[in-house]
Subunit: 202 residues, 2 copies
């Protein structure tokens, strides 16, 4: 049989492109070049495979952007690069458009409620990571003490989800980054330019 990680990579791409409900086990076994019993002995079930494919994909897609977020860069600069990296991830040539997690399994059949909980939990965890970074910025004095870090994290979470949706609809990389630039003008205490290509800080 094929290497386990190779199989997970193939599965992740299929799920990423077609979603959980839009991907059949026949699609998966055919793409992996294996027979159905091998899929079930190796990965357990379709839902288990999805779970593992999500973990696999996150482990590979999130490492760089996590380093950026947790680096010693000023928080606003780290956030910009973090969001840019996500925009790049949404528009990688040769890979499905959008994010595998951000806009996955939002509407679903009742029988797939447990699968929807998986992706919802991953989205929540992602926003909690952002909030934790913002909390640290408050402690550092990089953000005002009274900042509502939870809402701020959910705001940028919404931007991430919106970018994924628009990437699925065909939006290109630079279009997403222009959108990020506007989102960053909502940063607490930031002085505004008029809009669009704002490259000056403060």
């Amino acid at each position: 049989m094929l290497d386990r990680d190779v199989g997970l990579d193939i599965a992740a791409r299929l799920f990423w492109e077609r979603g959980y409900e839009g991907t059949s086990t026949a699609d998966l076994t055919k793409a992996m070049g294996i027979n159905p019993p091998t899929l079930y002995s190796t990965f357990g079930s379709k839902e288990e495979l999805y779970r593992q494919a999500l973990d696999f994909s996150i482990a590979h897609e999130n490492s760089r952007r996590m380093e950026i977020l947790q680096s010693r860069l000023p928080i606003d600069e780290a956030l910009r690069l973090y969001l840019y990296d996500i925009a790049d991830g949404d528009t990688q040539p040769g890979k499905p458009r959008g994010c595998m997690v951000s806009t996955a399994v939002l509407q679903h059949a009742e029988e797939n409620a447990s699968v929807a909980r998986i992706t919802a939990a991953l989205r929540e965890a992602s926003m909690q990571t952002l909030k934790a970074r913002f909390d640290r910025a408050v402690e550092n004095g990089e953000l005002p003490a009274q900042t509502d870090t939870d809402t701020l994290a959910r705001f940028y979470g919404a931007i991430i989800q919106g970018m994924s949706a628009q990437a699925c609809d065909g939006a290109c990389n630079v279009r997403l980054k222009r959108l990020i630039d506007i989102a960053l003008t909502a940063w607490p205490g930031k002085r505004q330019t008029s809009s669009g290509n704002s490259d000056e800080d403060t």
Copy 2:
């Protein structure tokens, strides 16, 4: 047979809750209390029914928020109320969470590509409506002349899509509106408060 609009309302709710791929024709006929041949003679096909259910739902959900957007209110105030109305629509008691259009059919099986194009076109049209309103605001002098209205529309489009995703994941009404308040601080020329509950203008 039942009234056509009653049927469309039932179908819209099912598609809204479960998505296109997560809703079966058996679900639809059972919920409408009709037999399969009646569904096909009345609506044509599952895809045609989805199309009609989308139109029906949009006609009922969008009328108020369109009036708000096209009213003689100052553009920033109109936008706030417009977004608030969408947040209300995402969290109506007794209705499915999120928006039926904003986050629909993003990932899908190949065989449903034509359905994905329908919702993508509706999302694009929605953002073009926003852009047209912003363009008018530029002409009125309510927005700076050099405003990138296209990106600004896609930015608030992303907010709308993010709100829908978070509503699907369980976010409540006030949480979405806090998020909107932050998004509105990204308005061109707006002076910032620190974050969160910003109620003062200019």
